[in-house]
């Protein structure tokens, strides 16, 4: 079939044929074929995928490789600022970036619930294609399974990502050293609150949108010009507090944040005040934490701030040898407290 997917607005499988996913769409037969040929191939078109094998043949890649896998079960699947599809691509790309790798290939596996609307699948698949093109990654292999009504929840997506580690980079929590600074590329908690606004029993009106975004353009720029980065982490589930606590624990370093330096949008702050949540524990989907020597901080900040996704980049804390293994924060009124790892689940199915 002609790869014209980029320009198709309507779902290529008309409602007169099928309005929703049937068990047979995952059965490997004609309906599976129809999904692949009429929906996936035209949108994800690339030389590797279109070979149509059971798996992908990848060309040789020089150097060290990075691989990541992730599953996406966010509820709701459509939320302010995005949907589960772009979350899946951006999340996978950002995980590779956190390994210091240039993202190249992604696999995509759908678990669909019987009765899921084809129009919704079409919207999600279009978002996946758009996000993959934007991030410059190829979707090279995939799978579709369908479970009976009530045995899943609309759509789950599993991905695997492969990337090439940039030479000269060596990223690891153990490299965290006293005197290093902690940088973040913008406001925290936006994704968590965006999801919250759509939840049953929690719904409220706000302008907050998810920050879901691939960070490879900005970060590859940083890697090329300043390879002295010690640690990278995307503060997704559990938020900045959990990501930094993990770094503290695995590096046995202490990190000290300054509350006044934490970038939090007023709308997110307001929602947190009302709901009794702490933005430090809310999920982000387009944010990255960098730990690097102070001497390189200004150069890195300048590079990051040139990119849209890094315009609000700033230093939020420092690494210290005073309190190994602990994340502490200087509060807005000048006292100091512990910022603990989240206990239990603040909000389930956030990504």
């Amino acid at each position: 079939m002609k790869p014209e997917g980029k320009f198709m607005l309507q779902c290529p499988i008309p409602k007169s044929e099928y309005e929703c996913i049937l068990l047979a769409h995952g059965g490997g037969g004609k309906l599976t074929r129809q999904l692949i040929e009429r929906m996936f191939y035209p949108l994800f078109e690339n030389d590797i995928l279109l070979h149509g094998h059971d798996g992908a043949f990848l060309p040789p890649i020089p150097g060290e490789l990075a691989m990541t896998t992730d599953s996406f079960v966010v509820d709701p699947i459509f939320f302010p600022g995005g949907n589960i599809g772009e979350l899946a691509v951006n999340g996978t790309v950002n995980d590779l970036i956190c390994c210091g790798a240039e993202p190249l290939y992604i696999s995509l596996a759908f678990i669909l619930e019987e009765g899921f609307l084809l129009d919704d699948l079409w919207t999600i698949v279009k978002s996946i294609a758009r996000s993959a093109r934007h991030a410059g990654v190829k979707i090279v292999t995939g799978d579709t399974k369908v479970v009976e009504k009530g045995k899943g929840d609309k759509i789950f997506i599993n991905t695997t990502g492969i990337g090439r580690v940039l030479p000269g980079l060596s990223i690891s929590p153990e490299k965290c050293a006293a005197g290093d600074v902690v940088i973040i590329n913008g406001s925290i908690g936006d994704h968590g609150v965006a999801i919250l606004t759509e939840r049953e029993g929690l719904a409220f009106e706000s302008d907050i949108k998810s920050d879901t975004r691939a960070l490879n353009a900005m970060m590859l720029d940083v890697f090329r010009k300043c390879p002295e980065i010690h640690v990278l982490r995307d503060p997704t589930r559990g938020g900045v507090a959990t990501a930094l606590n993990e770094i503290c624990l695995s590096s046995r370093s202490g990190i000290r944040l300054r509350e006044n330096d934490l970038p939090v949008n007023d709308a997110v702050r307001g929602a947190c005040e009302v709901m009794g949540l702490d933005p430090l524990y809310l999920a982000n989907e387009g944010k990255i934490l960098l730990i690097l020597p102070e001497a390189d901080a200004m150069e890195v900040l300048t590079i990051m701030q040139r990119h849209k996704e890094g315009a609000q980049s700033r230093i939020i804390g420092t690494v210290s040898s005073d309190h190994p293994g602990l994340l502490r924060m200087e509060t807005s009124i000048g006292s100091t407290r512990i910022v603990d790892m989240v206990s239990g689940e603040q909000l389930p199915r956030i990504c």
């Binding site: 929690l202 807005s332 000048g334 006292s335 206990s343």
Partner: protein
């Protein structure tokens, strides 16, 4: 952000601290009643900033913490029934009963839902006419009017499938119980600002007068709490007792008349057991006769549960301010928020949980 930043303002905090420092001449022990205040004190580490002469001890004002085990067991039992949707505030779902918590019931297939507003539970009942929707109502006078409204509204909408498992408690009887204890070391109270926003300040006047103690109505932000402490210290140093309002932007002496009327219509005072403390006379709310058809304990045939508290846990001493969380040998060792041995570690507003979260000793 307006209405928040000015109450977390460092300059104002420093100014209040200076005034407090100047006026305090001897050691005083002040108890904040409300768990929200405990949480704020720990979150901003106010003890670190206050003069050493002032000790803050933490009261029993965490409603989730003082909900008795057997009531949680009843909620767990109801939540596990196939025909029941059990609805509550988020904090309550994590609290272990003697065998189980509500989240585990949910994991096994129970329909357990979290809401922020009791009226949302009514909507759930309306959408699920074939299910019994039980709202597990926990809280002080602050949340009781919203529950009362939901119950009244259920009557208006003739929702026969809605009921409430009531665990509401009241502040003044708890203050009385604390002061009746001859071992208590409390010199003054910070009264709970939001409770007084509903109930006003008149209930506290006889308490302050009988026990010759300052009771200062106090808010929740750092500036509010320091203002409450400043007023306490001034009263103590001047040997004055009585009730003063340091949260005037929210609290009127007469309280919220409409909310009080609603409470009076739907609820009546009953004796209630407080976890870690025991039965306090007249310290809880039960449904008035006209609304007893919405009482889950009457609607369902619930078994009587035998419950047993951990012998290591010193919740009673912590909830009455006789001990601090860090005095407990189990604190941050065998007792953590993930595996709480007793009441004050279970909710984020509990004193042990607040200590663990913001101050735990280096592990």
């Amino acid at each position: 952000m307006k209405h928040i930043d000015e109450y977390r303002d460092k300059k104002l905090v420093d100014k209040l601290l200076q005034v407090i420092e100047k006026s305090v001449t001897r050691s005083w022990t002040i108890m904040e009643i409300c768990g929200g205040q405990t949480h704020s004190i720990m979150k901003y580490m106010l003890m670190e900033l206050l003069p050493n002469k002032i000790s803050l001890i933490h009261g029993p004002g965490c409603p989730v913490c003082v909900t008795p085990l057997e009531l949680i067991d009843r909620a767990v039992e109801l939540g596990g029934r196939p025909d029941v949707i059990l609805v509550s505030f988020g904090d309550m779902l994590r609290v272990p009963g003697s065998r189980d918590d509500l989240l585990s019931v949910k994991a096994r297939g129970g329909d357990i839902r979290m809401v922020y507003a009791p009226l949302d539970a009514l909507d759930i009942a309306q959408r699920n006419p074939l299910k019994e929707v039980v709202f597990f109502a926990v809280g002080f006078e602050t949340t009781a009017p919203a529950v009362a409204l939901a119950i009244k509204e259920a009557g208006r909408r003739a929702l026969d499938n809605f009921s409430v498992l009531v665990s509401h408690v009241l502040v003044p009887p708890a203050i009385r119980a604390l002061l009746e204890d001859s071992q208590n070391q409390i010199d003054a109270f910070l009264a709970a600002g939001h409770v007084c926003t509903i109930m006003g300040t008149s209930e506290y006047i006889p308490l302050a007068s009988q026990y010759q103690i300052p009771i200062v109505v106090t808010g929740f932000e750092p500036v509010d709490i320091l203002l409450g402490i400043k007023v306490c210290i001034e009263m103590l140093e001047q040997k004055r007792s009585g009730v003063e309002n340091a949260y005037a932007r929210s609290v009127k002496p007469e309280g919220n008349q409409a909310a009080k009327e609603l409470l009076q219509e739907v609820f009546e005072t009953v004796d209630r057991k407080w976890r870690g403390i025991g039965i306090l006379p007249g310290s809880g709310l039960g449904l008035t006769e006209g609304y007893q058809k919405f009482d889950a304990e009457l609607r369902f045939d619930l078994q009587a549960f035998e419950t047993e508290e951990s012998t290591v846990c010193m919740a009673g001493e912590i909830l009455t301010g006789r001990k601090k969380p860090s005095d407990c040998p189990a604190f941050a060792k065998s007792c953590k928020p993930e595996n709480p041995l007793g009441a004050p570690m279970v909710s984020t507003e509990g004193a042990c949980s607040a200590y663990y979260r913001y101050k735990k000793e280096q592990s």
